[in-house]
Amino acid sequence: MPAGLNAGGDGALSRKDFATDQDVRWCPGCGDYAILAAVQRLMPEIGVPRENLVFISGIGCSSRFPYYMNTYGMHSIHGRAPSIASGLKVSNPELDVWIITGDGDALSIGGNHLIHLLRRNVNSQLLLFNNQIYGLTKGQYSPTSEAGKVTKSTPYGSLDHPFNPAHVALGADASFIARTMDRDPKHLKNTLKEAHTHKGSSFVEIYQNCNIFNDGAFLAFTEKSSKPMTTLYVEHGMPMTFDKGKQGLRLNGLTPEVIDLTDGYWSVEDCLVHDATDKALAFILTNLFWQPDLPRPFGVFYQIERPTYEDLLHEQLNEVTERRSNGDLRELLRTGDTWSIGA
C-alpha cells in the first residue's frame, strides 16, 4: 500500500494525529474547544485505529466537530445524526461510532431519533453539547433553556418548561447516562472514556459554555468559589459527599436531603452510596435539577448491560443464514408454483 496510507497506520498515535488541516472555526472562548481537546487527547488512549472511528453530527456549532477530527465523519442534517449513526453501525459493527449533537439538535428537532436510539441500544457514544441555547442560529432559546429566558426569539421571556436531559434519557430506558462539563477536562475525559467502555448507547450530557449567546449559564458549577457547594460528583459504590467532604446527601424516604458532615451528628456512613445499576436511584439523583439548596450531580448516573441492537440483528442474520444456508438467487426465483411452456 502507498506510503501515504501508513499515515493512518499503527504505532503510538498522539493527540495531533487526530487533528485535521481545517481551521477550527468556533468563537474564541467557546466551550467546544475544551471538548474537542478532551476527545483528541482520549483517542490515543482508547487505541482504536483512526480509520475505524466515525464521528456523526447533526447541525449546530457543536456539530462542526467532525471536520476537526482526522477520522471518518459526517456533518449531516439537523437532528438526524442518531438515525444515520444507527444505519452505519448496523452495517459495520466494527466501527467505533461517536454522535456529536447539541441541545437543539438532540432534544428539539432530533428528540425522537434520540429516544429511539437509546431504547434500541445501538452501541455508540452520544455527546450532547448542552449550552442551553441555539448557537449557530445566533441565540434563540432551546429546550434546555430555563423558563423565562430572554433571547432573540423571546424578548419577553420564554414560556416553555425545559427538559431535564438525563430524565429524557432515563424515560427512553438508556443503558448509560452521564453528565460532565467543558470546564473540568479531567472529569470530561474520564467520563468519555467510561462511555466508550460501555457497550450500548452511551448518553453523555456535557455542560458547554456559549460565551457569545449564553455566557456563564453554568458558572455556578464551574467557578472555584461556588463549585464545591453546587456540584456533587458521584461514583459507583462511593458515598455521596461534596463540598470537600463537609456535606453529604442522604435519602429521607424517597426525598434526597443535604446533611452536614461537620457537626458530628451525621457522618459519611449516613450518606447515600451510589449504585449506578439502580434505575430508581438514578431517577432520584437526576431529579436534582434546578432545585434550591441541593447540589447538581455529575458523573455516571446509570449503567446497565443489555444486548445492543446491532448484535441482536447480526445474531438473527447469522442464525437464519445458518438454518437456511446462504441464499441462492436462482432457487429463490423458482420457489413456489412454477410451470413450463414449450420444451
Binding site: 497506520g9 465523519g73 456533518h75 438473527q316 408454483d337
Partner: protein
C-alpha cells in the same frame, strides 16, 4: 348424487372474471387460487385485487366489499380486463358495487341465501334485485351457497362460523368447472396450508369438489368455457406480484453486486409488502430495519450506504415528502441510495389503498435547492424486478440517490412471469477506494470528490479503510478535496457538475423502442403502470387499421437522448397518465410536438377502452 349432464363446451380467446364479497369472505384467496389454476392452464393473465381501506369493515356494507378481478386468455393479456364476463357476488353489497362492471349478457353467480332483508338494507337495495327483474340484461345464476355449504359440512365437526367462512371454496370449485380449469393446484395448496388442521382441510377439499360437481350436475349452465394455452415465450414461468418482484429485484442487486442489502423503511400502504417480503430473506445478507419514521428510515439507509451497504428505502408519497431533506443530503454527499415510491392516491392521506401516478413531479423537483437525481419507473408487476435492479446498479455506478416509481396497482397486481436467469442480468461491479488518489504540495492525499472520467462518480471510500479518512456533509463541497467551501465559483461549478453527472446516466438508456407503427399519426408516450392498457389499446387500434404507436419511458430523468427524434415521426403525441398531467409538463418543457393529455384520477388503472376512445376521438379530429 345427481347424474352429471355434459354441458356444451365453448372455446373462447379470453375472459374476465371478478370475485366479490365481504372482507371476511376470502375473495382475495379465491381469486389468487383461480389465478394459480389459470397459470397452470398456461394462459396469459393479469389481476387487479381491490380491497377496502378498512381492515375488517362491518359485514354486508358496500364499503366493506373486497374484490379480485382476473383477466386471462390464449391471447396476449395486458390489463385486468375492461368489462367483466363473470361476476361472483357473495352478497347484495358485492353485487351493488360491481354490477356496473359486468358486460351486457355477462354471467352473474350470486349466493342467493345472502339476499335477505338485512343484507339488502345494508346494501341500500329498495327491492331484491334477484326478483325485481333489474338483472334481466345478464345471465343470472342463483346458487344457495350458504345452504349448500352448511349441508355439505354438517358432519364436518366445524362450528357455524368456520363452516360459513369456507363457502368461498364452493364458489371456487364452481368457477374452476365453468372455465375448465384444473383443480389440482388448489387441492395441493389447501393440503399444505391446512396440513395441521385435518378437519378444515377435509372441509375445504370437500367443498371444492362439491362446487366443481355442482357445475356438472346443475342445469343452470348452458355452456362451459375453455381457454386454450397462450402462445407465451418458452421457458419456466411463475405468477408474481409487483411488491414481491420489486423485493426480489433488490435482493438480486445485492446478490450480483456482493453488497449487503440494507432496507430501511417505515410501514405504509402500499409499500409495506416490500418490507414483509425482504424480511423473509435474511439469508441473502439482507438487513431490514423498521425505523421510527420515514426520516429515520432514510437516515439509517444513508448511514448504511456510507458504511458500504446497498442502501434502499421504500415508502409511498407521504413518506417521500418526509424524506426529501435527507435525499438532498444524499445528493450532496454523493452516496448511492435507492428511494422506492409505491405511489397511491393523493394528495395528503388521499386514497391510501388506491393507485395513482401523482408523485412524478415530487420525484423530479421535490427537494430544496438544485438537487437532481435519476428517476426510473416500472411498468408491470414483473418489470418491478428489473427496474429495482437497474435503479440499484445506477445508484452505485454513478454514486447518486435514485428514485424508483411503482404504484399500488403494480404492487398488488400479478402476472405470469418468465423467470429470468440470474446470469442474464447486467453486470454489477463495485469498486471501493483503497488508495490515495491525489497529491497536495508533494504529499499523496485522498480526494473524496475526485471524479471518474466516464461517469463523474466520486470514489466510494468506506469507513474502516486505512488512510482514507474523510468527512462528508451537507455544506457545499470543494471540488475534489470535498472540504467545506463558500467560494462562489466553486458553488456554481459543483451545481453544474452534479447536474452533469446525472445527465450522464443517459449513457445507460437503450434506444427508444416503438410498439405498433414506427411512424404515423399518433404516438402514445406513457410511463409506469399504464403500459398494459396502452399497448392493449394500440393493438386494438392497429386491428382497426389506425396509424398508432406507443413508447413507454423507463427513465424519466434523464430522458432518452433519442426521444425527440422518435416523437418527430408522429403528428400527435398522446400522453395518458393516472394524474392531472405531470409527465406532459416535462415533455412540453423539453420537447416540441403536439402533446395531448389523457388523464384519469380515480384511483383505478386505465381501461384499454378509455385509451382506445381517446385515440378514436383524436383521429377523427386530426384527420378531416
Amino acid at each position: 348424487m345427481a347424474e352429471t349432464i355434459d354441458t356444451a363446451v365453448q372455446a373462447i380467446p379470453e375472459a374476465t372474471i371478478l370475485f366479490a364479497g365481504d372482507s371476511g369472505d376470502g375473495m382475495q384467496l379465491t381469486g389468487s387460487q383461480f389465478t394459480l389454476a389459470t397459470a397452470f392452464a398456461q394462459n396469459d393473465l393479469a389481476t387487479l385485487p381491490d380491497f377496502p381501506a378498512e381492515i375488517r369493515a362491518p359485514a354486508g356494507t358496500t364499503y366493506g366489499v373486497s374484490g379480485f378481478q382476473l383477466h386471462f386468455g390464449s391471447v396476449n393479456i395486458r390489463t385486468p380486463g375492461d368489462d367483466v364476463d363473470l361476476l361472483v357476488a357473495m352478497n347484495p353489497a358485492a353485487l351493488k358495487v360491481n354490477l356496473h362492471r359486468v358486460r351486457p349478457q355477462g354471467t352473474i353467480i350470486v349466493n342467493s341465501n345472502a339476499f335477505v332483508k338485512r343484507d339488502l338494507d345494508l346494501a341500500k337495495y329498495e327491492s331484491n334485485p334477484l326478483e325485481d327483474g333489474s338483472l334481466e340484461r345478464y345471465r343470472l345464476i342463483k346458487v344457495e351457497l350458504t345452504r349448500l355449504t352448511r349441508e355439505t359440512l354438517k358432519d364436518s365437526g366445524l362450528n357455524h362460523k368456520e363452516i360459513d367462512r369456507s363457502k368461498n371454496m364452493f364458489a371456487l370449485g364452481l368457477a374452476l368447472w365453468l372455465y375448465s380449469r384444473p383443480t389440482q393446484p388448489a387441492i395441493d395448496w389447501i393440503s399444505q396450508k391446512f396440513g395441521k388442521k385435518p378437519k378444515i382441510l377435509d372441509a375445504n377439499l370437500l367443498l371444492l369438489k362439491k362446487g366443481f360437481h355442482y357445475g356438472e350436475t346443475t342445469e343452470d349452465f348452458v355452456v362451459r368455457y375453455e381457454v386454450s394455452p397462450a402462445k407465451l415465450k418458452d421457458g419456466m414461468y411463475r405468477a408474481i406480484r409487483g411488491s414481491q418482484s420489486l423485493a426480489w429485484g433488490l435482493i438480486a442487486a445485492g446478490y450480483k453486486s456482493g453488497l449487503s442489502l440494507f432496507y430501511g423503511t417505515y410501514p405504509i400502504t402500499p409499500a409495506s409488502d416490500i418490507l414483509h417480503e425482504l424480511s423473509r430473506h435474511k439469508n441473502f445478507n439482507v438487513v431490514t430495519v423498521q425505523a421510527e419514521d420515514e426520516i429515520a428510515a432514510v437516515g439509517a439507509t444513508l448511514g448504511a450506504s456510507f458504511a458500504g451497504s446497498l442502501g434502499v428505502t421504500g415508502t409511498s408519497g407521504p413518506g417521500v415528502a418526509l424524506k426529501t431533506e435527507t435525499i438532498g443530503l444524499a445528493v450532496m454527499t454523493e452516496l448511492p441510495m435507492v428511494i422506492v415510491d409505491v405511489q397511491r392516491g393523493g394528495p395528503s392521506t388521499g386514497l391510501p389503498t388506491k393507485t395513482e401516478q401523482s408523485d412524478l413531479l415530487q420525484a423530479l423537483y421535490g427537494r430544496n435547492g438544485e438537487a437532481p437525481m435519476p428517476v426510473l419507473a416500472a411498468s408491470t408487476p414483473g418489470d418491478c424486478f428489473f427496474i429495482a435492479y437497474e435503479a440499484c446498479r445506477i445508484a452505485v455506478k454513478y454514486m447518486t440517490p435514485v428514485m424508483m416509481l411503482s404504484d399500488g396497482y403494480l404492487a398488488n397486481g400479478s402476472e405470469p412471469w418468465l423467470i429470468p436467469d440470474p446470469d442474464d442480468l447486467a453486470d454489477f461491479p463495485v469498486t471501493f477506494a483503497t488508495t490515495l488518489n491525489g497529491e497536495a504540495d508533494g504529499e499523496k492525499v485522498f480526494l473524496p470528490y475526485a471524479r471518474d472520467k466516464e461517469t463523474l462518480a466520486r470514489p466510494w471510500a468506506l469507513p474502516g479503510t486505512r488512510g482514507l479518512q474523510h468527512r462528508l456533509g451537507g455544506l457545499e463541497k470543494q471540488h475534489e478535496t470535498g472540504n467545506v467551501s463558500y467560494d462562489p465559483d466553486n458553488h456554481q461549478f459543483m451545481i453544474k457538475l452534479r447536474a452533469e453527472k446525472v445527465e450522464r446516466v443517459a449513457q445507460e438508456i437503450p434506444p427508444t423502442e416503438v410498439n405498433g407503427v414506427a411512424t404515423g399519426e399518433i404516438l402514445i408516450v406513457g410511463w409506469g403502470s399504464t403500459r398494459g392498457s396502452i399497448e392493449a389499446a394500440v393493438e386494438r387500434a392497429r386491428m382497426k387499421g389506425q396509424s398508432v404507436g406507443s413508447t413507454h419511458l423507463v427513465f424519466i430523468h434523464p430522458l432518452p437522448p433519442d426521444l425527440q427524434e422518435v416523437m418527430d415521426r408522429f403528428e400527435t403525441i398522446l400522453v395518458p397518465e393516472l394524474n392531472n398531467g405531470q409527465l406532459i409538463r416535462v415533455l412540453r418543457e423539453r420537447y416540441t410536438g403536439n402533446f395531448q393529455p389523457l388523464n384519469k384520477i380515480k384511483g383505478l388503472p386505465f381501461r384499454a377502452s378509455e385509451i382506445e376512445a381517446a385515440l378514436d376521438e383524436l383521429l377523427t379530429t386530426v384527420t378531416p
